[in-house]
């Protein structure tokens, strides 16, 4: 892998784990605005080839971030060579920044639309289980609270920081919540009415990529026929033909027993994959969909953007 691609991959991975994919995209687009603002090429015509290089880095990271590929593919289409040659020396920066800012505001509007569509779910008097720290799910819950709906949240513990992020958000919004260790869920499963999840992306294999631990929880609730909802912006779709489990990173390290002199291998995985059919409904910015509907929408978008084959942005 190219050194720069490797560097950016690591950086984006770290931020995604911390912030989630949606806020990662927002952060990268804002950074792009700042970068272009301070960009001082010898000749303004250097912008387009340099932007091409930048897009090639962003869309070829490991793992690929669907949401970033979507936005950067859009920008690359906008800033093509024809467009570049039409740019005037004194105006190019303003025009380019205006376009990026438009994409950024469209992206934020998509998030608002998704929250609006989440109103279609009946959460009145329900107990909702959450596990990952999806900001989309958090926004929906806060929206319900602001609408005056009465519901309770159970936070299934996972990574320390992510659990605390959920606790913080629920506390700030004044949402009634309890926290339970993930491995003790079976004891309260009968009190759970619905499960909300967010995801990093949806693959062409119709698998959602979620936080580790999600697979087991979803499977357990599926057995009990408790509806599982996915909240995802369609901009997060991975509109290319994916490698099997390409987005999952395995972190192996040595650990020592806390008391005794025993060293052992510890393995951690970055993400889980869960088939779309395991979700009762998928709440998107384009409506609340079934797994069949999301598949149709995905295929339509794949054809429309055809990133993998047509635009030469992301390689297969």
């Amino acid at each position: 892998m190219d050194k720069k691609v490797e560097l950016v991959s690591e950086l984006l991975r770290e931020i995604e784990v911390d912030l989630g994919a949606r806020d990662l995209a927002d952060l990268v687009l804002r950074s792009l605005v700042d970068a272009i603002t301070s960009f001082k090429p010898k000749e303004f015509m250097e912008f387009c080839p340099q932007f091409d290089r930048l897009v090639n880095i962003i869309v070829n990271t490991e793992p690929k971030f669907g949401i970033l590929n979507y936005h950067f593919a859009k920008l690359k289409r906008d800033f093509n060579s024809e467009y570049c040659s039409s740019l005037a020396d004194n105006k190019w920066r303003r025009i380019v920044l205006k376009r990026i800012k438009t994409i950024l505001s469209e992206f934020r509007m998509q998030a608002e639309k998704l929250t609006k569509h989440s109103e279609e779910l009946d959460v009145e008097g329900k107990t909702i289980l959450i596990h990952d720290h999806s900001h989309t799910v958090q926004d929906a819950l806060i929206h319900y609270k602001n609408m005056g709906r009465k519901f309770k949240v159970v936070i299934a513990e996972q990574d320390y920081d992510k659990t605390h992020d959920n606790i913080e958000k629920m506390h700030e919004a004044g949402i009634e919540f309890q926290v339970v260790p993930s491995y003790m869920l079976s004891h309260i499963i009968e009190n759970i009415d619905m499960l909300f999840f967010g995801a990093l992306t949806l693959k062409d294999t119709m698998d959602f990529v979620l936080n580790p631990g999600a697979h087991g929880i979803i499977a357990a609730l599926h057995v009990e026929k408790i509806p599982v909802y996915m909240f995802m912006n369609t901009a997060k779709f991975s509109l290319w033909h994916s490698k099997p489990r390409g987005e999952i990173f395995i972190h192996k390290h040595k650990r020592t027993h806390y008391k005794k002199d025993i060293e052992y291998d510890r393995i951690k995985y970055s993400h889980d994959r869960v088939p779309a059919e395991m979700f009762y409904r998928i709440v998107t910015n384009e409506g609340v969909l079934t797994s069949e509907e999301i598949q149709k929408l995905f295929e339509k978008k794949l054809k429309q953007y055809n990133i993998a084959n047509g635009n030469g942005v992301a390689k297969k």
Partner: protein, 432 residues
């Protein structure tokens, strides 16, 4: 006989401190105890040898810095600076070097590098660049900045305490050599590491990466809870303390009283946010005991009359003040590169007093500035020359950046010799 035993105890303690056989505080305290048990000093004389003013000043600054750090004000400032650089390597280098120097002048050097080095490594390494030149700069500038004020570096605290010099005395007498040393270091760094520091404003990829990292750092900071009232109180007291130091002669209070009042006042008004027990726990008691032990050790040697002999030898070997100042500067500079500069300065103080005694009628105050410049700036010469150097290397190591002794020496030694050369020119101009 007792005189020789005192000298042996001191030399032995010095060697054990240099080779870090035990913790240095333990060595100094053991040596001090031996001085009393053997009868070189009476318990009363031992207590009298301890410069409690210096110890109280150190204690106060440790308390002040601990409580101030808890407020997050320094991290906030760091994040602001990182944002200001917009990812420009030269701006990162210049701003962080200058901030290190300014922080070091008013905080202790170790606290300064603890605050700055990890952030620099995250920023520069994240951009895919080598953070070593930046870390080297922060080491060098922490020692340069620390040399400017009475509270900036332990040798200055010891000199100030022993001689009764004020905060302003240090600034007035040292700002010229320190400013020129800083400019010289900046020029040398920029030339030597231009490849690393070259602006990236014509490279869109580099700019994007830098801006992503800056936003990431900012987000990390935003997550930490900052209490505005705490920050306001800390900033107010820090400003008040520095103003107190500047106006020390007008107020008529010694530095340690100003610092101690500030520490107690800050602890009082921030009692809800920073518990005083935590502040006391953060005090480096081993350092304070090391100082106390060292004062007794030097008191014992002084009592034996050896330091008087050395002073007499130096003073009678030449009556040329410039020569004497240059000897003090270079000997303390070179000694500080390899030895702990604190015991060295503690020994040098009675020696310089002795020299002054032999040169009655001549203004020999320049010797204190020569000692301060040599001891503080000489510490830049090697990785073991000052505590901030060792701590910086440890911090960098934790972030996966390995700095070897030789790697640092190749750059730092010629630079330090150059800086000492500049200081020699300053001494020449002042004396001649």
């Amino acid at each position: 006989m007792l005189s020789y035993i005192a000298l042996i105890i001191f030399v032995l303690a010095f060697v054990l401190i240099v080779f870090e056989v035990f913790d240095k505080s333990l060595i100094a305290l053991s040596g001090a105890l031996l001085m009393v048990i053997i009868g070189i000093l009476t318990p009363e004389q031992a207590i009298e040898s301890v410069d409690f003013e210096t110890i109280l000043l150190l204690l106060s600054m440790m308390l002040l810095v601990h409580i101030a750090s808890k407020s997050g004000v320094f991290e906030w400032l760091n994040v602001k600076i990182a944002s200001l650089t917009r990812g420009n390597p030269l701006a990162i280098f210049l701003l962080f070097s200058l901030v290190t120097a300014v922080f070091s002048a008013f905080l202790d050097n170790v606290t300064t590098v603890i605050l700055i080095v990890p952030l620099t490594v995250e920023l520069v390494k994240g951009m895919g660049k080598d953070p070593k030149p930046y870390i080297f700069a922060e080491i060098i500038f922490s020692n340069i900045g620390g040399a400017l004020t009475l509270i900036g570096d332990p040798p200055n605290i010891i000199i100030g305490g022993a001689v009764g010099l004020s905060f302003m005395d240090f600034i007035v007498n040292l700002w010229i050599p320190i400013t020129f040393s800083a400019i010289f270091a900046l020029i040398v760094f920029t030339i030597k590491y231009w490849k690393h520091l070259r602006p990236v404003s014509d490279n869109l990829v580099e700019l994007l990466i830098a801006n992503i990292i800056i936003k990431k750092i900012r987000l990390k900071f935003v997550k930490t809870t900052i209490h505005t009232d705490f920050v306001v109180k800390v900033v107010a007291i820090l400003l008040l303390t520095v103003t107190g130091f500047f106006l020390q002669t007008l107020i008529g209070l010694p530095t340690y009283v100003i610092a101690f009042s500030a520490a107690v006042l800050l602890a009082l008004i921030t009692a809800k946010r920073a518990h005083i027990h935590d502040a006391f726990r953060s005090v480096e008691w081993s350092t304070l005991f090391f100082f106390a032990g060292l004062f007794v050790l030097v008191g014992g040697v002084e009592h034996s009359g050896f330091l008087e002999i050395i002073s007499e030898y130096i003073a009678t070997s030449t009556d040329n003040l410039l020569w004497l100042a240059l000897i003090v500067l270079w000997v303390s500079g070179i000694a500080s590169m390899i030895l702990d500069n604190i015991p060295f300065v503690t020994v040098m103080i009675p020696v310089i007093f002795g020299i002054q005694g032999h040169m009655a009628g001549v203004d020999t105050s320049i010797l204190w500035w020569a000692l301060s410049l040599g001891a503080c700036l000489g510490g830049n010469g090697t990785l073991i020359g000052a505590s901030a150097n060792v701590v910086s290397v440890d911090l960098a190591n934790k972030e996966g950046v390995h700095i070897s002794f030789i790697e640092y020496l190749k750059f730092s030694l010629p630079l330090t010799l150059g800086i000492l050369g500049l200081c020699s020119i300053y001494l020449y101009i002042v004396i001649v």
